[in-house]
Amino acid sequence: MSNLLGKRYKCEQCETEVLCLSGGAGTFECCDAPLTVVETEPLPSAD
């Protein structure tokens, strides 16, 4: 898993959320666990 620019990552334990400003091969971790990607809310078409 790598950290992707533009994605937000969240700690499921303490709810810390980070925005990745520069991607890389590493993995964000917090509270001894990898952060999970914050998925965008699915929305219907706007048009």
Binding site: G6, K7, L43, A46, D47
Partner: protein, 221 residues
């Protein structure tokens, strides 16, 4: 270059600027919902990154954008849902409100939502031969990405009325005469290079001052 997961965008951090390229070659860089979502993510990065001081917006493959992806239209379940979705993923407004200088490098076509996205930028350069316009009325709807307001703001009310009501495409030279384009370059490559040059120049200004003056300029319109 930085590692990113964008499927519809190119993204490069070069010196003090971010280069964001629209990339949907199969549709001549039509602005899909996925692309709009990625633009929102890219804007969040640009706004938060301490070393990014300006943005260049271009189209990959020497085409700026053919406009919104019309195949995605007509799928909203209700008017209310459509409005909610539009407000939640308004990439046009996000670009317009960026507190950094933005420069659009247009080439080949910049129409409909594509032109609207370019109009959300502070400076616009175009390659010779670029066709620009807001043809939405000819397809039965209106420019919904701010074009009706932004053309009037950039070119004046009379040219805006004509451009939006006629829905005709104009060339780069006429666009420059109207104030929709600031400079014309001999080729798509030259337009992108000039956009980068302008962005680097704009990036030297004080970021806080730029953010404030952009807010004031928007409020003045």
């Amino acid at each position: 270059m930085t590692s990113h997961g964008f499927a519809c965008l190119e993204f490069e951090h070069r010196d003090a600027i971010a280069l964001i390229g629209l990339r949907e070659p199969a549709t001549r860089n039509a602005i899909s919902e996925a692309m709009r979502d990625e633009l929102l993510e890219a804007c969040a990065v640009v706004e938060a990154h301490p070393d990014m001081r300006a943005v260049v917006l271009y189209g990959a493959g020497d085409v700026f954008s053919s406009g919104a992806n019309l195949r995605e239209f007509g799928r909203a379940t209700s008017v209310v849902e459509a409005r909610r979705a539009r407000g939640a993923r308004n990439a046009y407004r996000r670009v317009l409100m960026l507190p950094l200088p933005t420069v659009a490098a247009m080439a080949t076509v910049a129409v409909g939502g594509g032109l609207e996205l370019a109009l959300c930028c502070d400076v616009r350069v175009a390659a010779v031969g670029t066709r620009l316009g807001l043809p939405e009325v000819r397809r039965g709807f209106i420019p919904g990405g701010g074009g009706t307001q932004l053309v009037a703001r950039r070119a004046g009310v009379r040219p805006a009325d004509r451009l939006v009501l006629e829905g005709a495409l104009i060339g780069a030279e006429e666009a420059r005469r109207l104030g929709l384009v600031h400079e014309i370059c001999p080729s798509p490559e030259a337009a992108l290079a000039r956009a980068v040059e302008l962005a680097n120049d704009l990036a030297e200004a004080d970021p806080a001052a730029v953010a404030h003056v952009k807010r004031v300029l928007l409020a003045a319109s």
